[in-house]
Symmetry: C3
Subunit: 469 residues, 3 copies
C-alpha cells in the first residue's frame, strides 16, 4: 500500500473534457431519475390514504414501463431519423431513414445496425445520451398519474406507460429535440431560431400536462369531488409533509434536469442555468404564498408546493437564455398563474385534477415555452443553426424584450407554434388514446363506483398502503 | 446517427479545470439545497402531528423567503464591500463601497452596476457562487424553525425568513467569508490566520443556533412541556422514522456543504474534507449511542440523530485542516456534548427546544469553531493571507496541538473571538429582532393558548397535515 | 468584486484528470452512503409499526457502527496485505505483512506506519478510497437488519455492526477486491481472469445476503408468521409508500455504487455502467410485475420493489462487461428469480425474511456473480492481469456466450468458485457468529415472546415510532 497515486493519468485536455462532459450527463440523468421519487411523494401525499398504494405504485412502475417501451421503440423513433444538431458534436445523419427499432441496443462492436459507430468513446456517449433521454421521457410519463389518480384502472395505467414511452412522448420529441420540423422552423425567415426549448417546459412538461388534461376529461371527476350543483369540494390529501418532502426532491433533481441539459460541463452556461432554476423556484413559491394568502386568508401548503413547481416548470425552457431578474419574474408569474389556473380548472371547467398537474405542468409549461420568445436576451444559444445565425447578426436566442423586431417576434412565433401543436395535435393524440382505450376496455378504464369508494388499494393492488397489524 | 463523438472538445487544461470547478460548486449547491428536505423531515418528525403541517410549511417556505431577501439585499451586503480573498482567484475589490443592492442581478452584459465583469466565464462564476452562498444562508435560516416549532405564528415566521436572508445571516457572513474584520484578525501579530471557518460551524450553524436560542427564549416553552414544579415532560415527536430519514439526507447533503467548500475540485483537499465529514458523523452517532445508553439505559433514537448531526456540525469548521483521527475525536466529543447540552437546556435553563437545535447547531457549532484552534495540523489553508504566511514559517492553519506557541494559541484566540461575537452580538441581534417583533405584533408572535392546544395546522394553515377521509 | 475569474487555474491535463477522478469517487461515495436512507425506508416500510422505531434505528446506527469498526480494523484487514491491482495506479505492495491496524488514520505526514506515502495528492487519494470503501461495507452490514427485523435484540445488533465492519465484510473483500486468492485465480490456466465482481453482486450483496440467511435461521420466524401447519401468513408492512420511496433512493444511489466503481471518470466505461444499471432496474421491475400479476392475479407492490432491487443487485457484478441487451436479460431473469425465491424461502424452507433480503441480495447476488461468466462480451476489463492478458488474445472479461471455449468456461468457473465460497465459508462465518452470540447472550439474541408481541419499540428503544399526543 506504499505508493498511492500522486499524479493523474497521462491524458490530454480534450480527453479529460470528454470524460467530464459524460460525467455531467450521467450525474444529471441520475438526478432526473431521482425525480421519480419526488413525483411519487407529491402525488401520493396529495391523494387519500385508501388509494395510496395504488397511486404510489403507478408512480413506481411508470419508471420501468416507460423505460422498456422507450428502450425498444421510443428512443429510435425520437432520434433515429433526424439530425441531432450540436448535441455531442455529432455529424449530420448519414441517411434519412429511421434506424431500425432496437438496433441501438446491440451497439458494442460488430453491431450490424450501427456499424458506423466505433470504439469505446462512441459507445459511452450513446449510453449516456440514452440514459439522460429515457429519464426525461419518464418525467412526462409520470405527470398524468397525478391528474388521473384515485379513479384509474391499473391495467389502463400499464398501457399508458408503454404508450407514452414508445410513441406519445417521442412524437413531439422527434419534432423538436430529435431535429424535426419544429426545430427547423428557423430555416424560414422571420421565425427566429425555430422552436427552442432548453430543457423541456414544452417537450416534457406541457406534453405531460396535455395527457393529464386528456386523462382527467376521459375519466371524469372522483366521486364526491363536486356537489350536485357543481360546487367543488376539497378532498384533502393524506399527507402534506410527504408532498413537501417530494417537492424538495424535485427541486434537487431539477438541477440535473435543467443544468445538465447543456450536455457538457465545458459549456459553463450550466452554472447560469442552475442559478436561474433556483431563482424561479424560490420566487414561484413566495409569489404563490402571498397570492394565496391574499386571496383566501390562509397560506395554503398545497399552493406553496404548486408555486415552486410552477416556477420550476416555467423556467425549464428559458433557463439558459435569460438573466437572473427575468428568472425571478418568470417564477413570480408562474406562481400567480398556477393558483388561478388550479381554481379555473376546478371551478370553471369542472375538471378534477387531484394534484394540480394540468396547471403546473400543462399551463406553466406552455408559459415557459412562450417565455423564451419574450425574455431571452440574445446572449446564448443558436450556434447550431447556421442559417439563422447569419440572419441574426450573431445574436443567440432572442425574445421580444431584447429585440422588438423580426428576430424577437419571429422567435415568439416559433414558440407559439410549438405551444399550439402541444395544445392540439399532442393533446388530441393523448385524448384519442384514452378514449379508444376506454372503448376497448371491458367496463372502461375507470374502476366501478363501488371499488372507488372502497379505495383502489385492496381491490386493485391487493394490499393496503398502511397497515396497523 | 452515425458518428457519435469519439474525442472531446478542443479545449486546453485550464478551461477544463474551470468547468470542473464550477461543476463541483453547482453540484455542491444542489446538495446543500437538498438539505432543506433533511431539515424539514427531522424537525417535522420530532414535532407532534397536530402541528405537522405548520412545521413542515415553515421548513418549506424558508427556502424561498430567505432566498428572495438574500437575492435583493443579503448577497450584496455580505460580499459587496469586502475583499473575497482567494475565492475564485478574484482580484482585490476596486472600491470599498457596497455594490448597490440588487445590481448584481443584471449581470449578463452591459450591466451598469458591474461593468467590470465581462464575458460568459465571469457570469457563470458569479452565478455558481451566488447559488452556493444562497444555499448556505438558507441552512442558517431553517435552524430556528425547529427550536421555535409548535408555538410560532406564521406571520412572524415569514418576517424571520426575510430578516435572516437580508440582514441577519449576512452580517456575520460579511465579517468572515465576506472578507471583513474577523477574517482579517490575522493581520495582527499573535492571532494566527484570523477567524477561520472552513464551511461554517460558526458562520452557518452557530449563527443559526444563536437565533434558535433567542427565539426559544422569547416564545417560552410549549404548553405542557414543564410541570408546575419545572420538571420537563417528554412531548414525543410524531415520527421517529421521518426524523431518521431526514438525518440521512442531511448526511448526504453535508458532502456538498463541506467538501465543495474548497470552491474547486482542482483543490483535491475536498477528498480529505469528505472523508473527515463522514468520520465525524459516524463517531458522533456511535458516541451518542453509547453515552445515552449508559446514562439512561435505553438507546434513545433521537439522541442517535443528534449525535450524528452534532458530529457533522462540529467538523464543519475544521474539516479541511485536521487528520482523520482528529475528525474521529471531534465527532466523539460532539456526540457527548450534544446529549449533555440537550439535557442542560431543558433541565437547568428550562428552555424548550423541540428538536435540540440549540445544542446541535449552537453549542456544537461553537465547539467546531474552537476545534480549528485545537486540532488543525498546519498542513493546509492560509495561502490567501500573505501577512500571516511570512509570520508562520510556511505553515497552514495550525492549532495548539500542533503548535503550542503563539501560532496555535493565536489561532485559538481568533476562533474564540469569533465564537464570542456569535454569542453576544449575533445572539443579541436575533434576540432584539424577535423581542421587537413580539412587541410590534398584535397579540405577540406566539399564537393563543387555545390555538396551540388545538394544533397550529387548522388555525394557521387551514388544513391538517394528515387526513383520513 | 470587479474581476471574477474568467479563466481557469493554470494546471496541466493530468492534474485536472486526477481531480476529476477523485471527484467522481467522492460523489460516488456520497451516493452510496445515501443508500442507507433507502435501505432504512424499504426495511422500515415493510415492517410493522410497533417495531418501526427499532427497525429504523438499526438501519440508522449500522452506518456508524460498521464505520467505526472498519475505520480501526476492517480497512487495514481488507487492503493492508494484498496488492491493489490497477486501482488508482498503485504500485505493488512493498511488503506482504498487514499494515498495522489503524495506522492509516495518521496518514497526513510524518506518519510512521505509512511513511512511503507522501504529499497531499496521496493523502487525498487514500481518503477518497477509504470513503468509497466504507460506504460499500455499510451496504453489506445493513442487509441482515431487514431479514432479522422485528425479533432481534438491540444489543445483538450492535455487536453485528462491529463484527461486520471489522471482520465479516473485509474477509471476502480481502480475497477479492483486496487482491487475495480469489482475484488471483486467473493466474491458473483455464480460470479466465479469476473471480471478477465489478461493483459487488457478490462482495457486497451476496455476502450480506448470506448473513441475512444465517440470522434468519438462528432467530427463527416471527411469532404469527406461520400457522400451526406451517402455512405462511402475510404480516403486512406498515407503509408501502415508504418502501417505494426508499427503493427510488436505492436506484439513485446505485449510480454511485456501480458507475463510480470505475474509480475514474477518465475511464468512460462509467457511462455504459450507468445505463446498464438503469436498464436492469427497469426490466427487473417490469418482469416482476408481469410475473406476479400472472401468478397471483394482483400486481403486488412489494414484488415490484423486489423486482427492481433484484435487477440492480444482479447487474452489479456484470454492469461494466455486458451489452445493453444483456443488461435487460439479466434484469428480467432477476425479476423472475426473486419472486420464486421469496416464495421458496417462505413456503419450502419455512424461513421468515420480512423484506425478502435473502432472495434479493443473496440469491440475485449469486446470480449476478455467475452472470459475468455468461454474458461478459470481452470488450472491457482485465487489463490489470498481465498473465491472463497474454493467454486471452487481448480480450477482456469474457463469458460463455462470447467464448464457448476455455476462456468463457474458465471465467464462469472462477465465478462459480467465488459463489461457492460465499455459500459455504462466508455463510458459515455469519452463522457461527450468530450462533455463538446466541449462546453467549443471556436469554439469547431474540427478545422474549412478550416483548415481541408488544412491539420492540417501547421495550428496546424506549419510545414509539409514532405518537399521536
Amino acid at each position: 500500500m506504499s505508493a498511492f497515486l500522486a499524479a493523474g493519468p497521462d491524458v490530454d485536455a480534450p480527453t479529460v473534457a470528454l470524460s467530464l462532459n459524460l460525467l455531467w450527463i450521467v450525474i444529471g440523468a441520475a438526478l432526473v431519475i431521482f425525480m421519480q421519487a419526488g413525483f411519487a411523494m407529491v402525488e401520493t401525499g396529495f391523494c387519500r390514504s385508501k388509494h395510496a398504494a395504488h397511486v404510489v405504485s403507478t408512480n413506481f412502475m411508470i419508471f420501468g414501463l416507460g423505460f422498456v417501451a422507450f428502450f425498444f421503440v421510443g428512443y429510435s423513433f425520437m432520434f433515429g431519423g433526424f439530425s441531432l444538431p450540436g448535441v455531442f458534436g455529432m455529424d449530420a445523419p448519414t441517411g434519412s431513414a429511421l434506424i431500425k427499432f432496437g438496433d441501438w441496443v446491440f451497439l458494442w462492436k460488430d453491431s450490424p445496425g450501427l456499424s458506423g459507430i466505433g470504439g469505446q468513446a462512441s459507445t459511452a456517449s450513446v449510453m449516456a445520451f440514452f440514459l439522460y433521454m429515457v429519464a426525461f421521457m419518464d418525467t412526462t410519463a409520470t405527470i398524468p398519474t397525478g391528474a388521473m389518480a384515485e379513479r384509474w384502472k391499473w391495467s389502463s395505467f400499464v398501457m399508458w406507460g408503454l404508450f407514452c414511452g414508445g410513441l406519445y412522448y417521442p412524437l413531439f420529441g422527434a419534432w423538436t429535440w430529435g431535429g424535426g420540423w419544429l426545430s427547423q422552423l428557423g430555416n424560414n425567415a422571420g421565425l427566429g431560431f425555430g422552436y427552442v426549448d432548453f430543457a423541456g417546459s414544452g417537450v416534457v412538461h406541457a406534453v405531460g400536462g396535455a395527457a393529464a388534461l386528456a386523462g382527467a376529461i376521459v375519466l371524469g371527476p372522483r366521486i364526491g369531488k363536486f356537489d350536485k350543483d357543481g360546487t367543488p369540494r376539497a378532498l384533502l390529501g393524506h399527507s402534506i409533509p410527504m408532498a413537501m418532502f417530494g417537492t424538495f426532491i424535485l427541486l434537487f433533481g431539477w438541477f440535473g434536469f435543467n443544468a445538465a441539459s447543456t450536455f457538457a460541463a465545458t459549456d459553463i452556461q450550466f452554472a447560469t442555468v442552475a442559478a436561474n432554476t433556483a431563482i424561479a423556484a424560490a420566487f414561484g413559491s413566495v409569489a404563490a404564498l402571498f397570492w394565496v394568502h391574499t386571496r383566501t386568508g390562509k397560506p395554503d401548503p398545497s399552493m406553496m408546493v404548486n408555486g415552486m413547481l410552477a416556477g420550476l416548470v416555467a423556467i425549464t425552457a428559458p433557463c439558459a437564455f435569460v438573466q437572473p431578474w427575468a428568472a425571478a419574474v418568470i417564477g413570480i408569474l408562474a406562481g400567480l398563474i398556477v393558483i388561478e389556473v388550479v381554481w379555473f380548472v376546478e371551478r370553471r371547467l369542472k375538471l378534477d385534477d387531484p394534484v394540480g398537474a394540468i396547471a403546473v405542468h400543462g399551463v406553466c409549461g406552455i408559459f415557459g415555452v412562450l417565455a423564451v420568445g419574450i425574455f431571452a436576451d440574445g446572449g446564448y444559444g443558436g450556434g447550431w443553426n447556421a442559417t439563422s445565425s447569419s440572419a441574426t447578426d450573431g445574436k443567440g436566442i432572442t425574445g421580444i424584450l431584447y429585440d422588438f423586431g423580426s428576430l424577437g417576434w419571429g422567435q415568439l412565433a416559433s414558440q407559439a407554434i410549438g405551444a399550439l401543436v402541444i395544445c392540439t395535435v399532442i393533446f388530441g393524440f393523448a385524448f384519442g388514446f384514452f378514449k379508444l382505450q376506454d372503448k376497448l376496455t371491458k367496463g372502461g378504464i375507470r374502476p366501478t363506483a363501488e371499488d372507488e369508494i372502497a379505495g383502489l388499494d385492496l381491490v386493485e393492488m391487493g394490499v393496503p398502503a398502511y397497515s396497523n397489524d
